[in-house]
């Protein structure tokens, strides 16, 4: 409340004189806060730089001792025992075996679920299933490891007597279950973004729901669907706990999924569990294989983002 007497006081500082000081203080606070916010945004850039610099410098030291030819083309991975051998192919093979196995399970199931959710399910069913799938997606990976070891593997041993206790198949199955919700929910979003008018047009021409789905809706939402596949694959490649627990620790170019193998991530865990001294060649293998893992997932993520931005159909 401004009193009239205040206004009448001639010695009071005029508003015009006070304002610049207040303004200056506000401007100062404003720029300080902006600097803080920018600093926070910088954290993510620094994190990226730290990851890249760390992986590159440590891998560089690794490749001073081991030739890249041996690393990338060698077929024996024995970094801890004499005679040492640093051929990374068995780890890559193990990773791909689990990833492809998981994809074979999760891609058809995930796409079918997405089609059901977007094309067939009633609003009420959707309201129930979507949170349940999100729940499945939120289960920690170590729980899937437990599930693989105590449920899936015994079940498999029941049907396939020759299967080893640690095997790639069990790991592939649980990783497949793990990435299923990713594919289902992301593909569902992509399919639902396809405008209803396209469906109505196809139905008006006499197409059945199967034909509408496979020839109109899925092709129209293909960019989002493909992106969800790639994202899920990149998650499968980086998956650690379930494969460590279920697939074993035997670097092995196996031609069946019934044997124990080792993935890149499982090897990293194995090294970190032991007391590997920093600086030794065994410690540096950690960074060499991690670089490989980082590049594999990064490429998949970038391709996935590229597909989304390049092939997105915009309907309006």
């Amino acid at each position: 409340m401004v009193k009239e007497t205040d206004l009448a006081r001639p010695d009071a500082a005029p508003v015009a004189a006070v304002l610049p000081i207040a303004r200056a203080r506000i401007r100062w606070a404003e720029s300080g806060i902006k600097t803080w916010l920018a600093g926070c945004a910088l954290v993510s850039i620094v994190t990226t730089l730290a990851i890249v610099i760390l992986l590159v410098t440590e891998s560089f030291e690794f490749f001073q001792e081991i030739s890249p030819a041996e690393f990338f083309l060698g077929t024996r991975w024995v970094p801890l025992l004499e005679p040492q051998s640093f051929g990374v192919l068995p780890l890559v093979w193990g990773t791909l075996l689990v990833t492809v196995g998981a994809a074979v399970i999760a891609i058809p199931m995930g796409l079918a679920s997405a089609i059901y959710l977007s094309e067939y399910a009633s609003a009420r069913v959707r309201r129930w299933i979507k949170p349940l799938l999100e729940l499945l997606a939120g289960i920690p990976t170590v729980v899937f490891g437990y599930f693989a070891l105590t449920f899936v593997t015994p079940l498999l041993r029941h049907f396939i007597p020759g299967i080893q206790v640690f095997n790639a198949l069990s790991a592939a199955i649980v990783v497949g279950i793990m990435i299923l919700p990713t594919i289902a929910t992301l593909s569902d979003n992509a399919l639902r973004a396809v405008p209803v008018s396209l469906r109505q047009g196809a139905y008006a021409l006499g197409a059945t729901s199967f034909e509408v789905t496979t020839k109109v809706v899925v092709p129209a939402g293909l960019s989002g669907v493909m992106a969800s596949f790639l994202l899920a694959l990149s998650r499968a490649i980086g998956e650690t706990m379930a494969v460590t627990l279920a697939a074993g620790a035997t670097p092995n170019i196996a031609f069946t999924m019934l044997e124990s193998i080792q993935t890149i991530t499982a090897y990293i865990v194995q090294i970190s569990l032991g007391d590997t001294p920093a600086g030794g060649i065994a410690y540096q293998t950690l960074f060499a294989v991690a670089t490989l893992l980082f590049v594999m997932t990064l490429v998949l993520n970038i391709v996935s983002q590229w597909i989304l931005s390049r092939f997105r159909e915009v309907y309006d």
């Binding site: 506000i26 990226t48 170590v142 991530t265 893992l293």
Partner: protein, 293 residues
Amino acid sequence: MAFISGNESRNLRRRHQKARVFARFCALVTWSGVLLLGVLLYDVAIEGFAWLDWQFISSFPSRFPERAGIKSAVVGTLYLISLVAVISVPVGVSTALYLEEFVSPKSRLGKFIEVNIANLAGVPSIVYGILGLAIFVRYMNLDRSLISGALTMSLLILPVIVIASREAIKAVPMSIRYAALSLGATRWQTTWAHVLPASFPGIMTGVILALSRAIGETAPLIMIGALTFVAFLPAGPMDQFTALPIQIYNWVSRPQEEFHQLAAAAIIVLLGVLLLMNATAIIIRNRTERRMK
């Protein structure tokens, strides 16, 4: 059906039959996914329920399954998550505010940070573990402490918090900002007094979901060396610690059946905590959706 020859009507019937079979197939697959969730929960429940009692929750880990418990793991997880929240929430929300309110979305800097964060979100958690091992544990000499774990985990969930917070901030109508700015408020006054309160529930939902991811993460903690026998409670951030998922991993990787059952009991506790957090997030979301309407 005089206009349709017998051949065509058979064809039509076949097409419709195909559509019906396809619809049923898709429904079956979806429900089997839900069923898998049920089987998983059932498997955990019947294995672990018998071990779940107060003694289990209030005891330290032990070589003897009947005396083993998760006291240090539960306390470790609580400390860890509190520290992660204190570190990652201010930084994550600030980043989101900076990108949404202070940088033009078309600017090169904003785009660069955005792409960068999207890629960080896709980096496998174990790579963050290696980063934590090299930077926090070895280089900064923080050792295998709570703070090493919390810093590593904070970096891991930072992209998740940023992405979720940006969505929440984006949902605030422009008219609110225009109203504040037109009355002479500065950008930060607008952000602090109007944008942040309006997007608060959305941000909270994202934060809770990000923290629940951090609770379940195992690999980065193993990398920084948290997998040790810890039969004491950490007193400060520089102390060694263990956490629930680490304890579960430890028990699952043992061959004895009893330890698998202990793992199942610990999983029940872990999933219970996660369910509680998810339910909170959903309640917050539903309440705000109603208010927005």
